[in-house]
Structure formats: structure tokens, C-alpha cells
């Protein structure tokens, strides 16, 4: 019985199919919103699914001299990492697997795809892939440090490293976004950097490095990579919703789900708006901003939280 329940959790609810559906839904909402910002109609609801099916049916070619095994394993490893990260995140208060310290585990699992992206760049021996891979590492350091510092803000306020505990503690203290607005903004910037979305899509800027590390990927491998990107985004949004907007576990399940969906939609709107408004910085400008502005700000935010807590 326990085995079947575990299987259900793994494969159906917080596990594979739920996250894939959420990933596709996120991509559709994001593209539709972006289209509306640009006075376009935008794709039909089934477009992300159609893209995925198309990619999986496409021929899978590999540049000569590329490391074939590594190329196939990388997307699968990052997919499994992101899926397991999704298991620990409470969805509208429902947390089957949460334990003390799962925030740190999630942070680690969420950065596995970025490193896999770098390795993919090195493995597929192409000029643009090498450039893209190098840039993704450069960008990794400039947003990861501020992200980790700001994420630990809510943990310090709630006095625990378990996300479920953090979101439940917002019941009495009120949502952390009110106390740490700067933290929320930095977390959003960190998430955009991690997802390599528009303002910080330097590793995959089509006009400079064509496709970045994914230039040589085709067919099912590219399909998996898109899936990884989408699910990583969904997990990131759930994380932000839980850490900063705590209303979702106030009352009984039904309204909690409604509120949780609204919170996630709000974060999606913020993500789309930033991708529509901001231009792509040069990699050296980003590194400069990363160390000169983001890190001090996040330290300031953390210091403020610690002082307020004591």
C-alpha cells in the first residue's frame, strides 16, 4: 500500500505528470502574456504540447566528434533533478515529502540543470556551444550567490530550513513579501538568471551565440531540454510563492488552492513583464551588476532580517 501511495506521489500528483502539465501551462501563459504585451494574438493553448510532440518526433542528429553518451544523459539527469526538486515544494499547503533542510536540497537540485547546460556546451563540440557554455558559467556565479543569500532571508525569519514550515509560519507573521520586498525582487532576478529568461538570456542569445549550448541539440534531446526549462520555471515559481506569499495555507484546501494558483499567476505575470521590458545586458555588465549591486543588496536584506528577528 505504501508502495502504491509512493508511486502515486512520484508519478502522478506532485511528481511527473503534474509538473509536466504545469510546465506546459506555464509556457503557454508566458507566451500568451508576452504576445499580448506585443499586440499579438499569441499561440493556442495546445501549442507547447504540439512543440514537444514535434520535437520528440524529429530526427536526432549529433555533430561528428561530439560525446554521444554524455549528450543523451545530460538532459535526462537535469530532468530528474528538477522533478525531484518539485517533490519537496508544498503545493497549496499539501506537503507529502517535506523535511527539515529541504530548502537547501532544492537549491542544489535546481542548479544541476545549469551545470548540465555548461557540460552540454562542452560536450557538443561547436564554437557557439563552447561560447554559450562559458557564458552560462559566468552568469551562474553572478546570480547564484545573491539568490542563495536572499532565499535564506525567509528561512531566518521562520526559524527553520523546511519550506513547509516557512510557509506555515507566515500564517501568524504575515506574508514575508511585506517584510522583505527587496528580498522578493532579488529572488525574482535570481530566478530569471537561473532560467536564462529574457533579460538574462546571455548564454542562449540567438544573435550572439545562435543557440548557446543547445545549438547542436535536436529531436528528443532538445525536447527534454525544453521540458527541463519549463519545469524548472514551475518549481521556481512554486518556491517563490511559498517563501514570500504565504496566504495559500490559511484555510481548508479548496480556497487554499485558489489562492495558490493566483499567487503563482502573479509571479508569472512579473516574470513575463520583466522579460518584455528589459533588454539583454552584456556579460561583463551583468557580472559587474551581479557583484557590485546584487550581492551587497542581498547582504543588506539578510542583515536587516537578522536584526529585526533578534
Amino acid at each position: 500500500m505504501q508502495f502504491i501511495k509512493g508511486l502515486f506521489f512520484l508519478l502522478i500528483f506532485p511528481g511527473l505528470s503534474f509538473q509536466v502539465v504545469c510546465g506546459l501551462a506555464f509556457e503557454w501563459i508566458d507566451r500568451k502574456l508576452l504576445a499580448r504585451f506585443q499586440r499579438r494574438v499569441g499561440p493556442p493553448w495546445y501549442q507547447p504540447l504540439a512543440d514537444l510532440i514535434k520535437l520528440f518526433s524529429k530526427e536526432d542528429i549529433m555533430p561528428e566528434g561530439a560525446y554521444d553518451l554524455v549528450e543523451t544523459l545530460l538532459p535526462l539527469i537535469s530532468l530528474s533533478a528538477v522533478l525531484t526538486a518539485g517533490l519537496y515544494i508544498p503545493i497549496a499547503g499539501f506537503t507529502p515529502f517535506s523535511f527539515e533542510g529541504d530548502l537547501i536540497v532544492i537549491q542544489f537540485l535546481m542548479s544541476v540543470p545549469t551545470l548540465a547546460y555548461y557540460l552540454a556546451g562542452i560536450a557538443s563540440v561547436g564554437i557557439y556551444s563552447l561560447l554559450g557554455g562559458g557564458r552560462s558559467l559566468l552568469q551562474f556565479f553572478s546570480y547564484e550567490v545573491p539568490l542563495l543569500i536572499t532565499i535564506s532571508g525567509p528561512a531566518v525569519m521562520a526559524g527553520s530550513w523546511s519550506i513547509a514550515e516557512i510557509s506555515r509560519s507566515q500564517l501568524d507573521q504575515g506574508p514575508f513579501i511585506v517584510f522583505q520586498p527587496l528580498g522578493f525582487i532579488l529572488a525574482v532576478v535570481g530566478l530569471i538568471g537561473k532560467l536564462k529568461r529574457d533579460p538574462l538570456d546571455i548564454p542562449s542569445a540567438s544573435s550572439e551565440v545562435v543557440g548557446g549550448s543547445l545549438t547542436e541539440f535536436t529531436g528528443a534531446k532538445l525536447g527534454f531540454w525544453h521540458l527541463v526549462m519549463n519545469i524548472q520555471a514551475v518549481v521556481g515559481i512554486f518556491l517563490l510563492a511559498n517563501l514570500y506569499l504565504g496566504w495559500s495555507n490559511i484555510t481548508s484546501p479548496l480556497p487554499a488552492i485558489g489562492i495558490f494558483v493566483l499567487e503563482c499567476l502573479a509571479v508569472v505575470v512579473v516574470l513575463s513583464a520583466t522579460s518584455a521590458v528589459f533588454a539583454r545586458l552584456r556579460i561583463d555588465q551583468l557580472a559587474g551588476i551581479g557583484w557590485k549591486i546584487l550581492v551587497p543588496l542581498s547582504l543588506l536584506q539578510l542583515g536587516f532580517v537578522i536584526l529585526m528577528g533578534v
Binding site: 499580448r36 504585451f37 494574438v41
Partner: protein, 125 residues
């Protein structure tokens, strides 16, 4: 307020964009309205055409061909795929027999649609 509006002009632009109706049309389901002066498919007024060949001479894309046995035995052929839809034949024709309709010319896979006999007068080799 002016500085604010100019400072976040892009933010205002996307806000207005969301409010305004999107201007793209769901291809291929949306309707396509072409201006009346649009140079579309070639049409001919058969009884006005006397087979003089002025249009064939002036066609820059070599899309018109005249097979002429004698004054009254000729056949005028048009190749839609080769035509550049520039309207020169319409100008060169003294009798206003040939011209453009407003119909959009789509691609076709059927070879017989690529050779259109515009006018045939008692010639049948």
C-alpha cells in the same frame, strides 16, 4: 509626470498594448482584406484582345507568350508562376483587354494551373 512617463515609456507601451485589441490575425483562419488596387491574378477581356502582342513584348518577366499563325489565328498563354504581377501588360495594352484582378494568387501543385491560355482564336494544333 512627463519625466515619469518618458522614464518608464516601455512599461507604459506594454500596458497600452495589453489594453488595446491585438492587431494580428489568427492565421490562416483570419480574413484577408486586400486594397482594391492590389495587383492580383491576371484576367483578360477576350473579345477586346486582338492578339497584337504589345503585352508580350513589354512583359519584364517573360510570363506571356503569343503563338500566332496569322492575323486571326493566335493563342495568348500566361504563366502565373513566372509572372511578377507588375502591371506592365495592363499599361502596354492599347485596348485595355488584359489586367489584374484583386484575387490573391496562391501556390499550386497542379501543373495545368501553371499554364493558362488567356485567349485562343481558331487555332488548335
Amino acid at each position: 509626470m512627463k519625466v515619469m512617463r518618458r522614464r518608464f515609456s516601455l512599461l507604459n507601451a506594454i500596458f497600452d498594448a495589453v489594453m488595446a485589441r491585438p492587431d494580428t490575425v489568427g492565421y490562416p483562419f483570419g480574413e484577408l482584406e486586400l486594397p482594391e488596387g492590389y495587383r492580383g491574378a491576371i484576367v483578360i477581356d477576350a473579345d477586346k484582345c486582338t492578339g497584337c502582342g504589345l503585352c508580350v513584348r513589354d512583359c519584364p518577366a517573360d510570363a506571356l507568350r503569343l503563338e500566332k499563325k496569322s492575323r486571326d489565328e493566335f493563342r495568348l498563354i500566361h504563366y502565373p508562376a513566372r509572372c511578377a504581377y507588375c502591371g506592365q501588360c495592363e499599361d502596354s495594352c492599347q485596348r485595355g483587354a488584359i489586367g489584374h484582378s484583386n484575387a490573391l494568387v496562391g501556390a499550386t501543385a497542379r501543373p495545368r494551373e501553371l499554364i493558362v491560355v488567356l485567349k485562343e482564336k481558331n487555332i488548335d494544333d
